[in-house]
């Protein structure tokens, strides 16, 4: 018997007489948040990320200001803002990506209660590696992308796509449970909240 059939057989035998249906209690929802965008900004900042709000007109200048002088910047195809000197991703190898100092991307959803940015790596966001290897991630979130909580975000996301949920810069608490920002992912997360 194959391992597959053996395991499935054991599972069925183990559950002999157990009712397969189960009523899952509904997951509770948070009370309405008066200022969802402000809440999101505050919660992102709690993770020691840089958070700035700006209008669409100001965006290009704010992006330029977020990037250090002379920084080598990679950008995804389809980015809605022009980044001076930005190099569009050309399927760079990991070692080549490591030569870049910064990346500018958009996002798919912002979750206010947890201060989370969700990327689904579609147009304007790029494949997963480009927002991972460079040390500075400038992430653009539109105010109309911000939802109150996790259950509001899940239905907006297509599970067939890969997702990266980002809550602040890379961090660890592995040494005496003292939180340290910046291990392997981008050590600086700069969020521009547009709208």
């Amino acid at each position: 018997m194959s391992a597959r059939d053996d395991i499935l057989g054991r599972v069925r035998a183990a559950l002999d007489g157990v009712e397969p249906g189960y009523d899952v209690p509904e997951s509770p929802r948070i009370a309405p948040i008066p200022d969802v965008v402000g809440h999101f900004a505050a919660r992102v900042a709690d993770y020691r990320a840089v958070v700035e709000r700006c209008s669409p007109d100001e965006l290009a200048a704010r992006v330029a200001a977020a990037l250090p002088d002379g920084a080598r910047v990679v950008v995804p195809a389809g980015l809605s803002v022009v980044v001076a000197g930005g190099v569009e991703d050309a399927d760079f190898a990991a070692a080549e990506l490591d030569e870049f100092d910064a990346v500018v991307t958009e996002a798919r959803v912002g979750i206010a209660e947890t201060g989370t940015i969700v990327m689904d790596h579609g147009a304007g966001q790029g494949r997963r590696a480009i927002s991972l290897v460079p040390d500075l991630h400038v992430c653009l979130v539109r105010t109309d992308q911000v939802v109150p909580d996790v259950p509001d975000a899940l239905p907006l996301l297509d599970p067939r796509r890969p997702h990266t949920w980002i809550s602040g810069p890379s961090a660890t608490s592995d040494i005496e449970l003292e939180r340290v920002e910046g291990v392997h992912g981008p050590r600086t997360l700069h969020v521009l909240l547009v709208g």
Partner: protein
Amino acid sequence: MTGTFVGMPAFPAAAHEALGNAQLRHNLAHATGTIRAKRQRLVDEVTLSLEGNSDWEALRLAGAGVKESALVDLATHLERLEEALTANGATVHWARDAAEANAIVVAIAKRHRVDEVVKVKSMVTQEIDLNRALEAEGIAAWETDLAELIVQLGDDLPSHILVPAIHRNRAEIREIFLARMAAVGRPAPDDLSDEPAVLAAAARAHLREKFLRAKVGVSGANFAVADTGTLVVVESEGNGRMCLTLPEVLVSVVGIEKVVPTWSGLDPLLRLLPRSSTGERMNPYTSTWSGITPGDGPQEVHVVLLDNGRTRALADDVGRQALRCIRCSACLNVCPVYERTGGHAYGSVYPGPIGAILNPLLRGVGHDDQVDSLPYASSLCGACFEACPVRIDIPSVLVDQRAKVVDAHRGGVPKAEALAFRGAAVALSDSRRLGLGERLTGLGLKVGRRFGASKWTSARDLPAAPPESFRQWWKRTDGGRS
């Protein structure tokens, strides 16, 4: 430490040794105290944030419900998961036990002719001792989580589910980095201090070259969504993203209990896990992937679905709930026993209250004294049940497992405890015998203290016998009337 849990002594002996280590107790008290406070603050915050009279408990009920609904119909969900993964371009393997799972991973690595793999922190690959199996075939398995790196470089054993190096302080970690990094890659800088930020930077520099060149990544998964064929990895440092994204080939070993029926079922779990685990509203990074995405990430994706005792646990009507566990480690952090003994005393990658039930459930009782000792590694105070985000009633399972350990030992040479209870049964089942017994209590205690009761009294007070028995008092005072 020898880098293996095999041959560890039973809990009482191992705990006794651990209790003598003052540094360990100090590290643990500090760490668990910190994390308990952070968790409690967020539990209260959730209750305040929810609408109506809803509270953290409602979120726990939802989380427990999602996991329970997967378990009670597990075969259906596993078949759906396999179908969805395959449709998404992943290759699904099934492994009855550790040896089968290891052989599958080794074969994939060999097919790609690699001599190294990079690993995301994963409990299940520790459970099956994958690193050792890979090493035996000349393949180095690099642990990339900071705490796992500390454990691996120190040839040490993990002692906590979430923070495996919780037993090490910063000075010890500095020593390990200075002594060991050079032998396996980029050395630690000579001027390394013991500041956590500096130590983390050394780990970043050390591992970066390994991430950039790795051809094969190995992971576990926190959740596997059956409907959509989606795997989910929850992490903090970005080492997980590196391993899941940069290599050409990704192999994920997933226990069959990790199934979540639907995408929306992730809702309560993703809200419960980080708050219960690290005491954060959300962990820095969560990655989800559904098989292969053309042009993004590994283009060869394998998923190994592992039993290794899980169907044994599933068949246990009381113990089945342990398979809901999402490995948050909240039960460790609140446990008065764990806080004092640390994780090594449990002799398993799954320590603490959850380990005390999971190990006997996965491995069975009655054939290994070490496993049989674990259900007794508890005061049954119930703090673990209160902290568990998926409402595993650990104390009830502990008691049930104790009964199973006793049952497994019936028939052979009885233990002292069994003899004592047999004696008690004789005395308590007949009023004349009980009366005689009461009169002889004082004498019995004296004899007991002399012979054999020390195993009981070494950790507990044995009360002095009263000057007269209840019956004697009743007779003398006419039931208290005179």
